[in-house]
């Protein structure tokens, strides 16, 4: 780390020297070197024998100048004129004195971090998921449907046991299944299994039926919707539930038709409204007949994490956050208290209940703290269970302390020395945003995280876990801006078919492609950039002018098939119509939005905000101009061109996609010009024509690769990449290339690098 600081200082000194030779007149820097540096050091860092303290503070330039005029140099204050003081004050303020300057020149470091909201919720869920293992999901999709001849749903009375891919039935006045043992006027059906939530958020469940029904989701005792009393004309029941993304949840649905209730007909459909989607049938791909356990999801709302540096991080605390941790601790403690006997494997009147609950508490604390308890902590929890203490109170208070403790709330706060427990925690948070699981804890306990190879082999195991896929999916969501583009709307006169359902379908389509990449162990960066096939349903196929192959003709609008859009240069997920429509205005494309996305996200270029706010030129003012011509006109001034040279010419390569991301060959009767030029960081000019050349460039470019590596690193680690060594970005980039740009390998490499920092 010292070497790194030295190098950084060198760089800035060279820069400083360079700029001073250009300046002919007397600058603050010259004054500083003449009169100040001998005592304060060349960068204000101090000189041990003269003035050892570094020069930093929060005085303004004016105040600083006043102090300098009056007091400096110490031996002869009159030697420094007010003019020189002003110059030198301005110089040191900007170079190293002010907090802003400090932040600028400070080397990147791994900052102590509390759990982010996602890490908190995932950790709580996993803390208890381990106590209640789930079955593995099945390849087979859908729910188990059991059919009964009456309202009684005892297992031995079931007549039919089958898998129903979706719940959407209209039995009319007839039987649900042709079977002599079933009657048309009275039966019940019981569907059960698990449902997969692709992302974190509130899911609304919608059951459409005029018969009696009950629905349970992630809660086996109390129904989410109790429609067992059918009442009035309520044929649609809706209730919402918060779910964490990337997990399966138990689901159960009952339908009953009663011959006494004058119900002639029976029908039912199970729909849902996913976050940022419209209401749709729950497709088989989200359903599995296997049994899963309830997931403990903290309901307490937390303030959002700081994302100002481009990724969520936990480097600050606030009163609201502290209050949220209190509320959440109370919430979890109340839930656990009700289940303590089952969790601790004891009974209310058992003689050894105190001992069992105490032991369970100690185990729980060790898992929450990610390391064996030290003697003091152990003594504290044990004391709670002293002979006369009420066991349940002791348990509740222990859980509260556990979840309020900095040992739970902060990452690696204890024993900063790089012990195996810190390594294990770092791996788990990096790959899962959660706590170490049992195999990882065992590895830590048995000294099997001692070197890079051992660490890598754990990382390989962990990268195949669904939680790693969930985190990768969350990264893709950010990378493709799916999480930011939530209010896409288009001019309804120009694009009448582009309604909310279409947007929802586009989102599903992109999500399915990304999920496929996240799940495929050997998927590469190339697959993301060069993918030519899209998931389409009938609605999207019609709108985007694709004829689905005859064998792919879909019965239902919500079913998706992979297809290539023939006759157009649709290359890579960057050209996915969701992204193209999102990066566009309501009535026209937006080369600027697309160019900014390509520069920043795909090529990792930094762009300053525009020097002045300029509203787009209205199309009406120049009715004859194409979008490209209008944008060129708008940004032609010198002050704009600094950035727009790059932005525009990248964005123009995607001009063949209109405001809804549909392919076009001309605009305003003029052929589309989709040529552009990219000037690389090395100054090389790369002419790019259309999406194909753009994609080919991205997939071969080191800049693009490095940008991807860096963004993925930051998303997974939540610390600045250079804090792990100046060579880390390049080293990761090289290994990514060597590994055929396999994304999972990169994930493993990132986790290994971060975990092994400081080990041999």
């Amino acid at each position: 780390m010292t070497a790194l600081i030295g190098r950084l200082l060198c760089v800035s000194l060279v820069l400083a020297a360079g700029s001073s030779t250009l300046a002919a007149e007397r600058t603050g820097e010259i004054v500083y070197r003449e009169m100040c540096a001998s005592c304060h050091g060349p960068q204000g860092e101090g000189v041990p024998t003269a003035y050892p303290e570094p020069l930093l503070g929060d005085k303004s330039v004016k105040e600083l100048a006043l102090v300098i005029t009056k007091t400096m140099p110490e031996d002869k204050p009159e030697k420094c004129s007010p003019q020189d003081s002003a110059l030198v004050a301005a110089y040191i303020h900007d170079a190293f004195y002010s907090p802003l300057a400090q932040a600028r020149i400070k080397p990147a470091r791994v900052a102590l971090s509390r759990l982010t909201v996602r890490q908190y919720k995932e950790s709580i869920a996993d803390l208890f998921a381990e106590l209640r293992p789930s079955e593995q999901p099945l390849k087979e999709r859908g729910l188990r449907g059991n059919y009964f001849p009456s309202r009684r749903t005892r297992d031995k009375e079931k007549i039919v046991d089958r898998i129903d891919p979706v719940v959407q039935f209209d039995f009319g006045e007839g039987k649900p299944v042709e079977d002599d043992r079933l009657k048309a006027d009275e039966f019940s059906i019981h569907w059960s299994g698990s449902i997969f939530a692709p992302e974190t958020g509130s899911y609304e469940f919608v059951v459409k039926t005029a018969n009696g029904m009950r629905l349970w989701v992630n809660e086996n005792e109390v129904p989410l919707i109790d429609g067992s009393v059918r009442s009035g004309n309520d044929v649609e029941h809706r209730e919402s539930r918060l779910l964490l993304g990337g997990r399966y949840y138990p689901i159960r649905l009952e339908l009953f038709k009663s011959n006494k209730a004058k119900e002639k007909k029976a029908s039912i459909a199970l729909h849902w409204t996913r976050p940022n989607h419209t209401t749709e049938l729950i497709e088989a791909r989200y359903l599995s007949p296997h049994r899963s356990s309830e997931v403990l999801i903290v309901q307490t709302p937390f303030p959002a994490d700081d994302r100002s540096v481009g990724y969520e991080r936990g480097t600050s605390v606030s009163k609201e956050w502290d209050q949220a941790t209190t509320d959440a601790a109370l919430e979890v403690a109340a839930l656990l208290s009700k289940e303590v006997n089952r969790l601790a494997n004891t009974k209310s009147d058992a003689g050894d209940r105190r001992e069992k609950v105490q032991n369970f508490t100690l185990q729980l604390a060790a898992r929450a703290f990610r390391r064996p308890l030290n003697a003091e902590t152990q003594a504290y929890f044990s004391r709670q269970f002293a002979d006369n203490a009420d066991i349940d109170t002791a348990f509740q208070r222990s859980v509260l302390l556990m979840l309020k403790s900095p040992r739970f709330l902060y990452r690696e706060v204890e024993d900063p020395a790089n012990d195996p427990w810190n390594i294990a925690a770092r791996m788990a948070f990096t790959l899962w945003d959660s706590l170490p699981d049992k195999p990882l804890r065992d590895a830590a306990a048995n000294g099997q995280l001692a070197n890079r190879e051992q660490i890598r082999s754990q990382a390989e195991r962990m990268a195949a876990d669904p939680r790693a896929q969930a985190k990768l999916s969350a990264f893709f969501r950010q990378w493709t801006r799916m999480d930011a583009l939530v209010d896409i709307a288009k001019d309804s006169k120009l694009y009448p078919e582009f309604d909310h359902d279409t947007i929802s379908d586009l989102r599903t389509s992109l999500e399915m492609s990304l999920a496929e990449v996240a799940a495929e162990p050997r998927a590469t960066y190339r697959d993301l950039i060069l993918e030519e096939q899209l998931y389409l349903n009938n609605r999207l196929a019609n709108l985007y002018g694709v004829e689905l192959p005859a064998d792919a003709l879909l019965a239902k609008s919500s079913e998706f098939q992979k297809a290539k859009l023939a006759g157009e240069p649709r290359v890579g997920l960057v050209t996915h119509p969701f992204l193209m429509a999102g990066l566009a205005y309501t009535a026209s494309s937006s080369p600027i939005h697309r160019g900014v996305y390509l520069s920043r996200t795909m090529l990792g270029r930094s762009l300053k905000p525009p020097p002045e706010a300029i509203s787009p030129i209205l199309e009406d003012l120049h009715p004859g101009l194409t979008t490209r011509e209008r944008v060129t006109l708008q940004t032609k001034s010198e002050v704009c061109q600094g950035c727009h040279v790059m932005i525009n010419s990248l964005g123009f390569t995607l001009e063949s996609f209109d405001a809804i991301g549909r392919f076009r060959k001309e605009e305003k009767s003029k052929p589309i010009d989709d040529t552009g030029v990219y000037i690389t960081r090395d100054g090389e000019e790369r002419p790019l024509r259309g999406p194909r050349e753009m994609a080919d460039y991205l997939v071969s470019s080191g800049e693009s690769r490095q940008a991807f590596v860096q963004q993925m690193f930051h998303f997974f680690v939540k610390q600045p990449i250079r804090a792990y060594g100046a060579e880390v970005p390049d080293a990761l980039g090289r290994s990514f290339l060597q590994n055929d740009q396999q994304i999972r390998m990169l994930m493993i490499e990132i986790a290994t690098t971060v975990a092994a920092t400081g080990t041999n």
């Binding site: 067992s228 209730a261 502290d322 209190t326 289940e339």
Partner: protein, 438 residues
Amino acid sequence: MTFRSSRREFLRDLGLSAAALPFICNLPSLAFANQAQRKQRLVVMFSPNGIVPDQFWPDEEGADFKLKTILSPLESLKSRTLVLNGVCDKIRGDGDSHMRGMGCLLTGTELFPGNIQGGSDTPAGWASGLSIDQEIKNFLQADATTRTRFGSLEFGVMVPDRADTWTRMVYSGANKPVTPIDDPYQMFHKLYGQKKNQESLRSIVDALKDDFRKLQPLVSGEDRQLLEEHATLVRDFERELQANPDGLNHPEPVLEAGIKEENDNIPKISKTQIDLMVQSFQADFARIATFQITNSVGGAKMRWLGIEEGHHELSHEPDKNESAQDKLTRINKWYCEQLAYLAERLAATPEPGGQGSLLDNTLIIWTNELGKGNSHTLNNIPFVMVGNGLDFQMGRSVKYDKIAHNRLLMSLAHGFGHRLTKFGNPDFCGDGPLHGLT
């Protein structure tokens, strides 16, 4: 496994979101704004299966009347009692008498068609409107000077654990039945849960501060700043906990431990729930309460009275079965004893910060889903009122000529200054609130 259900209960029990914890009952707006004027209260008590008319209704009208066997527990409260005869539940439509009796009792409106089939008549669903207690609660909660922490509390005694038209009489809206809480411990948690949380939080603060003290030296300079900032938040939090002791103006009640929810514990559960209700009025947690003993068609077996048969089963016995009628009389007298106990407790408790006793400001109204069990009639529904909360002229027996009970429901609202022009089915509200109550 009960993770989800308990979480939902947890949030529901708080009556507010968890985020508002733990200082809820110390919010000035809740604690003080509503203290200026007289605190009026309403309790609706329910017992099922009709009564035994000749052992219930006073023969006389007016102030000079005698209490018969069933109402005899009210002897000492007679001057504060008002017996209304001739009030009928005229709501028709889907559902059998027990269902309509229950679902229309406080809502005054029809049941939706549905799939719940009773002993006869057509199947039905939930009531198509809110109940009068919720209407008045909404009225009180809308005004800062009458607003309370919960607004209303729904107590129950041995209400079966299933939601259907027979088990719900309170509705917060059409198709929105409210589940009564029949477990005293659950009610206790709802009322006092966050106080326990505050105690727990207070008990861990020292250890937590200690934890921070131990960890701070382990982290480097800049990182320590973050921990120190966090430790300051913890100290602020401790100060807030100390500044807000418990927010109660009465000692937290102590419940007898381990009362199981089973038939033979009905007397114990009933007493415990009544005690909690009185305490919650004292603390001004709510101005409206309902007290539902079992449910429509409820089959309590009053073994503590030496009666082995279930109440509902007995209620079908013909008038000439004297033994059954005697048992039914004793059963109903026992219900009346619960009413008397509640009234006496309220009478013995001074109104905090006000004049007189809680009973001076509370009206209890005892009612039933049927007039008479073996005929299943919805005429002459029993309505017995005790207490002076709504300034009705008490100490009387009044006989009306088959008037619709919607008008009585409107009178209750009017007693709170909530001048409804109709409630429930407007066809039965024509003549407005009942004459001759005040």
